[in-house]
């Protein structure tokens, strides 16, 4: 009787695991199924053609360029700052200040993304417009700056975590050789936390790619190919949010599923890379 109950409950747990994991696959299935008619028309065409629905071009190339440019630039801006901040937290700053600063960074992860977009429109966009004298101020640079603020906490917290996980014995060895805290950080901790840093960067990159609100609100959403970082672009995520087609069979409607598919596959690659790195690191330790 008791045994029966135990096994029954285990089955229920297993069933919910299967249900929740099937959602991951179901999303992939839906995206692929809905994008299929477009994919049949040729994957290469879809990925390289411009977006001109009136002329019959439904390519998502401009959006892929937009997403890549914005997320790479935001990473370029945020990475150096995040690295400096994690140095400050893990060894340069005084203990009490580091603790407060770490709290602030953790708190940043709780700020809603729509707030970043909202403040971006009314604070950052006018600043950029004034500074560069021209255009609407809604451009790659504006969005990348705001996204940089959004993704920094992810990087900083991961960097600090990987610094903390460097074995105590390494640090003691450096100490006994007469290294000061900064030297220990630069020549001992940093090299052995390499994987952690790469993981943090990858996750932040994924976050920048997947963000919708910031780029939708302050990148300008133009479908032309950008010539400079002061041009406006549309990202894949913003494209999904903007294309609202009444006709569910139309190629416009199909194309947003192609965008979803591209984002999905990209995130899968990032996660696989992260897991591979993390796994390698833990094997090395063992």
């Amino acid at each position: 009787m008791n045994n029966w109950k135990e096994r029954g409950i285990e089955k229920i747990f297993l069933l919910s695991t299967i249900i929740s994991s099937s959602i991951t696959l179901l999303i992939l299935g839906f995206m692929a199924y809905m994008a299929l008619p477009l994919l049949r028309g040729g994957l290469f065409r879809l990925l390289t053609e411009p977006w001109m629905p009136q002329q019959g071009f439904y390519g998502i190339y401009p959006m892929i360029v937009g997403t890549s440019v914005i997320s790479l630039l935001s990473l370029l801006i945020a990475f150096p700052v995040s690295l400096g901040c994690s140095f400050l937290i893990s060894s340069i700053g005084p203990k009490s200040l580091s603790a407060v600063f770490r709290r602030i960074v953790q708190m940043m992860t709780g700020i809603p993304t729509v707030i970043y977009g909202f403040v971006g429109i009314f604070l950052l966009v006018p600043l950029i417009r004034e500074f560069f004298q021209g255009g609407s101020g809604m451009c790659i640079l504006t969005a990348a700056l705001m996204l940089g603020v959004l993704i920094s906490p992810t990087m900083i917290l991961f960097f600090c975590d990987s610094f903390d996980r460097v074995p105590r014995s390494y640090i003691d060895a450096a100490d006994s050789l007469g290294a000061n805290r900064l030297q220990t950080l630069l020549y001992v901790i940093l090299p052995s936390a390499r994987e952690g840093i790469v993981i943090g960067v990858l996750l932040a990159f994924g976050r920048a790619m997947g963000d919708t609100l910031v780029s939708l609100m302050i990148a300008g959403n133009s479908i032309a190919e950008p010539k400079s970082i002061l041009d406006s672009v549309r990202t894949l995520t913003a494209h999904i949010a903007l294309v609202i087609a009444a006709d569910y069979e139309s190629p416009e409607f199909r194309s947003i599923f192609a965008c979803g598919l591209v984002l999905y596959l990209f995130i899968t690659i990032v996660i696989l890379a992260v897991r591979r790195l993390a796994f390698r690191k833990s094997e090395e330790r063992a």
């Binding site: 992860t109 700020i111 997947g210 949010a241």
Partner: protein, 293 residues
């Protein structure tokens, strides 16, 4: 030479810290400065008396009341969908699954956690279209579809915090009751779950915060600008984050913009409060939810 490099690193780190702090505080201060003026019962209830609005006797047109109610309903709906299944999955992964199965499921949930919220929203929308076509033409993007899609979005958070909370229990706690003859299920219910309750609760609070702030999912699955308080789960609804997004691009009068600032401040305070609560209950877990190293 090395000395100079080291001194430069110190300067550099302090500058970076200063830049980031300045950026965050200017965002917060700007919102506080602009939004504080709009912070008034009128912001939520407009011209209607609060009692009448809460009792639904009178509809609020120029206040945030319907958006606040919509957000609350949305959060409770999606968390109550995600909670049982998330807990059960977390428990299964931590206590029952063997190593290889666990690894495979971990990968799947890592991917689910990484899927951009707009893609989850698109999935919700496609689901609504699918149900509309094949089951009942009365199904359209609505509160229920949004709640379901948001539940998918926060599911990995709940699973992961539950799993970590259970896995981080010490072997002493894990083995004592078993050594006294308790069954696996008894050990789980009477020892392991009570011991890891704080971790699980902080996961739930984080999920609530995520539901309250998300805009991308709901904008594809049924949120609208003016719907009033929704009558059923099959009706469209209003929500705070979408109101903020809408006002930022479509405002016509300074008063509307003021309301937008007020709404943004309200949402920010709500999310920071939830975050602080999760943090007080269980330190560190909060951001570990992003990725389990």
């Amino acid at each position: 030479m090395k000395q100079a490099g080291e001194r430069l690193t110190i300067w550099y780190s302090w500058t970076c810290g200063l830049i980031l702090t300045a950026a965050v505080f200017s965002i917060l201060a700007y919102l506080l400065f602009k939004g504080a003026g709009a912070f008034h019962p009128k912001l939520i209830f407009g011209g209607v008396s609060p009692l009448k609005a809460v009792l639904l006797q009178q509809r609020v047109f120029d206040g945030l009341f319907p958006a606040v109610v919509g957000t609350l309903m949305l959060v409770s709906l999606s968390v109550s969908i995600a909670l049982p299944i998330g807990f059960a999955t977390g428990i299964y992964l931590a206590e029952y699954a063997d190593f290889r199965i666990k690894n495979a499921f971990n990968l799947i949930f890592d991917i689910l956690a990484g899927i951009p919220s707009i893609v989850v929203g698109l999935f919700g929308f496609a689901l609504a279209v699918f149900l509309h076509k094949h089951y009942s033409s009365s199904i359209q993007p609505c509160l229920l579809i949004s709640g379901l899609a948001l539940a998918f979005l926060v599911l990995p958070y709940i699973i992961r915090t539950t799993q970590i909370a259970l896995e981080s229990l010490s072997p002493e706690i894990r083995l004592t009751a078993l050594a006294l003859g308790a069954t696996k299920l008894q050990n789980l219910v009477y020892v392991l779950l009570p011991q890891s309750l704080t971790g699980m609760i902080s996961g739930v609070i984080l999920a609530i915060g995520r539901c309250a702030e998300d805009t991308a999912v709901i904008m594809l699955t049924g949120v609208v600008v003016a719907a009033g308080v929704p009558k059923s789960v099959f009706a469209p609804y209003e929500a705070l984050p979408f109101y903020i997004y809408y006002i930022s691009s479509q405002y016509t009068t300074p008063e509307e913009l003021m309301n937008g600032y007020g709404a943004a401040l309200l949402l920010l305070l709500l999310c920071l409060f939830l975050f602080a609560l999760a943090f007080v209950i269980k330190k560190r877990l909060s951001y570990l939810a992003f990725y389990r190293p």
